[in-house]
């Protein structure tokens, strides 16, 4: 990977150097402003850029928007990285790492952040994956949109070189947005990238990035404050921890992590839980997960679809039916007709809606 080089030893490359040979870089593109700007800075230097976006299963990426009724006037949901690649005019490689990512989430070497976010392990993993793709596709180096000191775990000054070492890419990971504050990388030392034309952004303020975006004419980018991973979300992390505690082991399936994003989750007893749709779109979404579960809905009035997971007995299913009645339009009726579907068998029963006072707060996950 080359010997360590201090910024003082850094060669100053004239702009024409990069034109002698086509240099190609592969960037990690989240679709947020920082990664867009990093790509754009390299495109400005005549470097051929392609990007990669990894699917972990925990990407917030409009999932909530896709599962809930749309807010009036809101922009239609879209995949930010695809949209960013379209704006930049670069190819995007979408790579599914969800299965391998289970190991990162359940057993992170460097632990979790404030919730279940294994940010340092995640970054190391993604950088190593990007490097493998770079090798496969024949790019010269990789880059990210990281900004020194912007995030508490993965973008601390002492962690940036650590990420490179752990991922096995020392000297070959360029961070264009803060390059001026970091040790020169091989692409800079070899004159492929003009270090003098890269900024030295640092800290949590987004103003410099927004100014640079304006300079490039980039206006259509996601809100800079938006998070991109459900694992940083307190409510989501609580539900995932509860799932692990209940099962007695860390682990999850793709269905588990998707279902944790939808509906109200209640656990009335250790051996079963219920998921209650909160609106029509969410009911429709949950209906796709009926297999292996009990699906319960009111027949006479509009209301939620409720899924039961676990090993419920007859009394538990009656309770679930009363919950469906409680959360629907018939909550003030004396009784309601409710339909239960399980493994292709359909039954009905009449139940009284469960009064709100009989739903202990600790049932809510």
């Amino acid at each position: 990977m080359g010997a360590p080089v201090t910024p003082e030893m850094m060669p100053l490359s004239p702009p024409h150097t990069t034109a002698k040979r086509e240099v190609a870089a592969l960037g990690l593109l989240s679709g947020g402003l920082d990664s867009m700007l990093a790509a754009r800075l390299l495109l400005e230097q005549g470097i051929r850029v392609e990007c990669v976006n990894f699917y972990t299963g925990f990407c917030i990426q409009n999932h909530t928007g896709a599962m809930r009724n749309p807010t009036p006037g809101a922009s239609p949901p879209r995949h930010d990285a695809l949209h960013a690649a379209q704006l930049l005019g670069v190819k995007l490689h979408l790579v599914d790492i969800a299965e391998e990512y289970v190991r990162i989430v359940t057993n992170p070497k460097y632990g979790y952040g404030s919730n279940l976010n294994p940010c340092l392990d995640c970054k190391i993993f993604m950088v190593s994956k990007a490097w493998a793709l770079k090798e496969e596709l024949g790019f010269d180096f990789i880059f990210t949109g990281e900004v020194l000191g912007q995030r508490p775990m993965s973008q601390r000054r002492e962690n940036l070189p650590h990420i490179e070492r752990e991922a096995g890419v020392e000297g070959w990971l360029l961070r264009p947005l803060c390059a001026a504050r970091l040790k020169a990388t091989e692409p800079e030392l070899r004159g492929w990238v003009d270090r003098q034309r890269l900024p030295g952004f640092s800290g949590r303020s987004r103003k410099p990035q927004m100014a640079l975006a304006a300079q490039f004419g980039l206006r259509d980018y996601p809100s800079p404050s938006g998070g991109c991973c459900f694992l940083t979300d307190e409510n989501y992390a609580r539900k995932l921890k509860e799932l692990w505690n209940f099962r007695g082991e860390k682990g999850y399936t793709m269905e588990d992590i998707v279902l944790l994003k939808a509906g109200r989750h209640l656990r009335p007893a250790p051996h079963f839980k219920v998921i209650v749709g909160r609106d029509e779109t969410e009911n429709r979404f949950l209906s796709g997960f009926r297999a292996g579960r009990w699906a319960i809905s009111a027949l006479e009035v509009s209301g939620p679809l409720l899924l039961v997971e676990g090993r419920p007995g007859a009394e538990d299913l009656t309770l679930a039916c009363r919950l469906v009645a409680r959360f629907g339009q018939g909550r003030h009726r004396a009784e309601l007709q409710v339909a239960i579907e399980h493994e292709g068998t359909h039954t009905t029963c009449r139940v009284a809606p469960l009064p709100a006072t009989e739903i202990p707060p600790e049932w809510y996950l």
């Binding site: 976006n53 990426q61 995949h79 695809l82 995007l92 979408l94």
Partner: protein, 97 residues
């Protein structure tokens, strides 16, 4: 549906992908895997229910050099036709049997 989405007669489909009930970006990831098995010019049809698909399929086609032949909404479902790039796009049109 995007204003730029072309509207065409249903083309002859070489491969139909059912990506219904999958959330973003899985319909696109599945489409990418499916189209890799096709020859240039072959037509992939994708069914999806994720509302972002209406934005994502045209963007995916554009950044990967595929040709979006059209999209149609059928209730909650979206159906899109893509001719694989890297060669002449399919000029076959007609009704599916």
């Amino acid at each position: 549906m995007s204003e730029n989405t072309p509207s065409v007669e249903e083309p002859v489909v070489d491969l139909l992908l059912d990506a219904r009930r999958l959330l973003c970006p899985l319909p696109i990831l599945r489409a990418e895997a499916a189209i890799s098995r096709l020859a240039a010019g072959a037509v992939l049809a994708v069914q999806a229910t994720d509302p972002g698909f209406a934005q994502d399929l045209p963007a995916w086609c554009k950044v990967n050099g595929h040709h979006l032949l059209g999209m149609r909404r059928q209730g909650q479902e979206l159906l899109g036709w893509v001719a694989k790039g890297g060669g002449a796009p399919s000029d076959r049109t007609g009704r599916n049997e």
